[in-house]
Symmetry: C2
Subunit: 94 residues, 2 copies
DNA sequence: TAAAGATATTCTAATATCTGAATATGAAGG
DNA sequence: CCTTCATATTCAGATATTAGAATATCTTTA
């Protein structure tokens, strides 16, 4: 009973295991952004942005809302992300 | 100046992005263990354990000491790991 | 409803990662 | 030193992930 789901944990961390996604998440920590904002900020092509966002979506890290023609992405639980990144900062990992 | 090294961050998270390594780390959180202890606990073959441990070593998550014929592995910064996993627990991710 | 802009999906090639088998290295005891 | 036990490294095949091109799907507005 109450066995740890190691896969669930590793899937969560896997979201953060690519530099592009880390950068996306750090940008989203500053506030909601639409796909083309992210595309320009990170200087990536659109499908690449979209693919990484879809992984973030599937892992419940982000959600989005429609704003006109744009889809605006935001962190579902910014507090969680903030806490984790603060821990990294304290440990000189960020 | 002070640019974030996204690769460094993603490399750190990558360590935790495999269920076997998550399980290893959780076991090491309970205390120092030698390779064969880990092998038996996780029911893995020896090279596999060794490979995952080497990744943990290269990323400065663990260190080891010789005890007789055995190599005993331990977390370099258990406090950091503990804090991160506590955050996960609070968020029902663990 | 047609057109245009914004985003998503699919596909492919390149690359990275994982596993397990074989082999190598290193330590302790005789 | 030689043997044995413990661990590490190397290698090859299988699998997964990534970037980018081509294409499809929404959404809004005319």
């Amino acid at each position: 009973m109450n066995a740890i789901d190691y896969r669930k944990v590793s899937d969560f961390f896997n979201v953060f295991s690519h530099p592009t996604r880390v950068e996306m998440i750090i940008e989203l920590l500053k506030g909601k952004k639409c796909v083309s904002d992210i595309r320009e900020l990170l200087e990536l092509n659109q499908p690449n942005v979209s693919q990484h966002l879809s992984l973030l979506r599937l892992n419940d890290i982000v959600d989005w809302c429609q704003e006109g023609k744009r889809k605006c992405y935001f962190l579902k639980n910014p507090q969680l992300i903030k806490v984790i990144f603060d821990v990294l900062k304290k440990n000189k990992l960020l």
